[in-house]
Amino acid sequence: MRFSDPQRLYSGGSPPIGGMGSLMQRLYLDGPLLGGLAAVCSLGLVVLYSAVSQNMDLWVQQLIRLFVALVAMVVVAQLPPDLLRRWTPWGYLAGLGLLILVLVRGEVSQGAQRWLDVGIRFQPSEVMKLAVPMMAAWYLHDRQLPPRFLDIIVIAVMIVVPTVLIAKQPDLGTALLIAMSGVLVVVLAGLSIRVMILLGLAAIPGAWALWQFMQEYQKQRVLTLLNPEADPLGAGYNIIQSKIAIGSGGLFGKGWTNGSQAQLEFLPERDTDFIFAVMGEELGLLGVLALLAMYLFVIGRGLYIAIQARDTFSRLIAGSISLTFFVYVFVNTAMVTGLVPVVGVPLPLVSFGGTSMVTLMSGFGILMSIHRHRKLLPH
């Protein structure tokens, strides 16, 4: 029905495009962004095939997940930004409710309560990955920017409540990333540099407080990063093996499915958090740089869409989604190469796993919706 919307048809100004282009336009999809994502996902599938030791069943599972995620992206892309904005508070509140529910009666998996079984098992924290930055953007949408002190306090509360709930599951890695996506909204909204520096300074006692809040295994991860060789077969094992894998890959790599570290099971979690090391070992520096370039293209396109966006909400949410995606990429690669502690962040769109991929692709669906619907917005 919306296709026949006359407003849309006449205000476009762009000449009718035939074939693929027309289909993309009709589905509110962004060609360059979709192309970049397709490149990342394809390379990801190639690497994953090797990382799951050529296990076809697992690989097909991932392919199906990718397909589901693409469907989610296309569906979200159909929702105009205005609609998304109006739904935001309700989505945020529903997410909070689910988080409380998961703490009360969630399923315990690997020592943490993160899952909720509602027909399908899913993690409510995934909802919050999008709901928190959207909530912050929703709040700032009508307000004068740069945000005032009071606004910042309100947004801080919006961020801290779900963050604490998720950290209690305990899932500190996800909690910090969600907080980061909210903070990015405020930064993009024009938080003054002075305040940022002040907050940075305040982070020092904050880090101390965080240290007190950390579980023993999390403290161990930080300590391990500082000196992985202290416990080569225990906590330091992952990092040591990961560095060996990447380092031994060299410039050109050992060849696809020929990485001895990965194939002979020296590398732990090689199909999930440490898949970047598999790639470094088998495809070498050149392969890894190619992937990073694809990521950069996707992020760059996301930021371009943000700049092109016509209203505050769209702008902020598009910027936050793009930069959060960058944070995922950075944290994972820095973690696998031994630059930051092992926090359990998967390599986006490449690591084996379902829910996070749906969330990510829904995020890109929002970006596409923002870009394709921008002509409808009032000036």
Binding site: P146, V187, G247, S260, L264, F266, G280, G319, A334
Partner: protein, 631 residues
């Protein structure tokens, strides 16, 4: 601004936003630059270091155990070999429910219930990927039985392996010994690196004494492993730049023994159902022709492993089948030492060949009422040395013992090799005991006990009292008698053959100092008396010697286990079987050019001449090539 409600300024807002996006982009590119710099550091600058570490990660050196040397008898018949067999192994990490798996294995009879706790402990203590052996050797039926049910037992599998096998198990058990699973104690004794990969080691007998020869040298191969240390199949190995290197193990040397399997079998059959031992030696070189201890056991069960209850049953058996009577059993020699004492008496002048003494059936020391009895209550009448040996007159030896003296007895019996280890190439031999004044002074703490009493010399003259010898010592002493004083170290291994080159090394007989009695006249007379024991109308063992187509010499012995009171008679029928006298017999043949010397001991056999002598005769018949009807 303060007067109005804040109005959104879209343009400045967008400019601010763009500025922030640029800032964020710069920060992002910087951060990504750090990651890329790190990648360059790892993959380009330090590449060589990590490449080496990755190589070391997956190449592991695995020991390849050598094949154990074979053991042959003097005619080349196999006594110990290595047979391919299937063993049952369990890999803990692949088993989902260990308790349940072990229980079900016990239900189908592959392991026994009482071993479950032991396997449980093994499976939980070692590395999870390292297989533990549940059974060393399965029968064909068990293999078939397990093969059918294998899908029900994930983590349990059959593994082919070489298992030590003794075709004539029980017959040769005490001579060859056996191999058993390598224990921690063994590894402390042996060279640990050389035994990497070896599962069994010689525990007793020839297998133990010649461990260094039999074992061989360990080889190694480099294998590609995964992080769990498990070797990976060949097809996934082509990550390697260079082919894994290896070195073949050197097989152990094959041993050739002096044992004659046929004679050994005959000796084993002769002792069947009895407790006792037989040792036969070639007097010309000290080669052991037969060495049997009865009852015996199946050494194969040590090589293949047995259940705890089977082992306990063997250990608790009151007939002690694991006890090697031939080299460890200590018995009073009884009258078997009379020929040796006669030679000593002649040498020291305690008697001569013509001196005749009266035997009334008992003897008392002057001034004492204690009667030392002869085995024949009515006495032997007037006897000379020849008669005293052939009829085994105790009183004659009681009388001359005072003139020989205990120290001379010790001096000469020691030269015959009694009361001390023979030095046979086999571990665990007992010393036995030939007493002397010096020995008694050192053996007892109380001053009153340290004095040597004249009565002790009397009973020592018929091989009783403190005196103890092993069957091997006795056979060795008979060999010295047969060889007219020439002596050799008794030995089993005559040659060995290098496992790789097949080069044969012969072990020459080792002569020992001869007995210091030079007069051939003494020797001939004493040996003639021993001949008379078996082949004269008055000899104690004339029944055993009857009808022999060759000339033989022997001496019976009957050793007291239980002291009969002064007023009582020894009545065989009334005494508990285990308190009856031990029956002993020593013999050699042919008289003039001896080829075999034998010692036979039957525990609680009552009479040396009646029970042990026919066995000795049968052994000699067999060795000299006659069919025997002595038994």
């Amino acid at each position: 601004m303060g007067l109005f409600a804040p109005i959104k300024d879209h343009h400045s807002e967008r400019r601010l936003f763009i500025a922030r996006v640029i800032l964020a982009s710069v920060v992002s590119v910087l951060l990504l630059g750090i990651v890329i710099a790190r990648l360059v550091q790892l993959q380009v600058v330090e590449h060589a270091l990590y490449a080496e570490q990755s190589q070391g990660n997956r190449i592991r050196i695995e020991a390849v155990p050598p094949t154990r040397g074979l053991i042959f008898d003097r005619n080349g018949r196999v006594l110990a070999e290595n047979l391919p067999a299937y063993q049952l192994e369990l890999i803990p990490e692949q088993v989902t429910d260990l308790d349940d798996t072990l229980k079900r294995l016990a239900t189908i009879g592959l392991i026994s219930d009482e071993d479950i706790p032991r396997f449980n402990g093994l499976a939980r203590s070692g590395p999870r990927f390292k297989p533990i052996t549940l059974r060393f050797r399965l029968s064909d039926e068990e293999i078939a039985n397990f093969a059918v049910q294998r899908p029900r037992f994930p983590g349990v599998d059959l593994q082919p392996r070489l298992v030590r096998h003794y075709p004539d198990g029980e017959v040769v058990a005490h001579a060859i010994g056996y191999v058993g699973a390598l224990s921690t104690a063994d590894l402390q004794r042996l060279d640990g690196a050389g035994y990497a990969g070896t599962s069994h080691t010689g525990k007793t007998g020839v297998e133990h004494y010649n461990e260094n020869l039999l074992h061989g040298d360990v080889g190694f191969r480099q294998i590609v492993t995964n992080a769990l240390g498990r070797a990976v199949p060949i097809e996934t190995r082509d990550y390697a730049g260079s082919a894994p290197e290896s070195e073949s193990p050197t097989p152990g040397a094959n041993l050739y023994l002096s044992l004659d399997l046929e004679l050994q079998r005959a000796a084993y059959l002769a002792l069947e159902g009895r407790r006792g031992a037989i040792v036969a030696i070639d007097p010309n070189n000290g080669e052991i022709l037969a060495l049997v201890s009865s009852p015996s056991f199946d050494p194969n069960s040590f090589a293949t492993g047995m259940s705890s209850s089977e082992y306990v049953a063997l250990q608790d058996n009151e007939d002690r089948p694991l006890f090697n009577r031939a080299v460890r059993g200590s018995y009073p020699p009884g009258s078997t030492i009379k020929p040796m004492l006669s030679l000593a008496a002649l040498e020291v002048g305690a008697t001569n060949l013509t001196r005749r003494l009266m035997c009334f059936g008992w003897y008392s020391l002057p001034g004492s009422s204690h009667r030392y009895r002869d085995w024949r209550p009515e006495g032997h009448g007037e006897v000379d040395l020849h008669d005293a040996i052939s009829q085994s007159c105790d009183v004659y030896f009681y009388q001359i013992s005072r003139d020989i003296g205990i120290d001379n007895m010790h001096h000469f019996l020691d030269q015959f090799g009694l009361g001390k280890g023979t030095g046979i190439d086999m571990a665990g031999e007992s010393d036995g005991l030939v007493p002397s004044r010096e020995w008694k002074r050192q053996a007892f703490r109380e001053r009153a006990d340290q004095v040597w009493f004249p009565g002790e010399t009397i009973i020592a003259s018929i091989g009783q009292g403190y005196m103890l010898v092993t069957p091997l010592q006795l056979a060795n002493a008979v060999a010295a008698l047969a060889a007219r004083g020439a002596r050799f170290r008794p030995h089993l291994v005559t040659a060995f053959e290098d496992g790789l080159t097949g080069r044969r090394t012969v072990i020459a007989p080792e002569p020992l100092p001869a007995v210091e009695i030079d007069d051939p006249f003494y020797w001939e007379n004493v040996l003639n008396a021993m001949h008379a024991v078996m082949q004269s109308p008055t000899g104690t063992a004339r029944a055993a010697g009857q009808g022999a187509p060759y000339q033989m010499a022997g001496k019976s012995g009957t050793a007291q286990v239980f002291t009969v009171a002064q007023e009582e008679e020894y009545d065989e029928a009334e005494i508990d079987e285990r308190l009856r006298d031990h029956a002993l017999f020593i013999a050699f043949a042919p008289l003039e050019a001896p080829r075999i010397a034998v010692a036979v001991i039957i525990e609680n056999g009552s009479s040396g001449s009646r029970v042990a002598a026919p066995i000795a005769r049968a052994i000699m018949d067999r060795h000299l090539g006659y069919t025997s009807d002595a038994l």
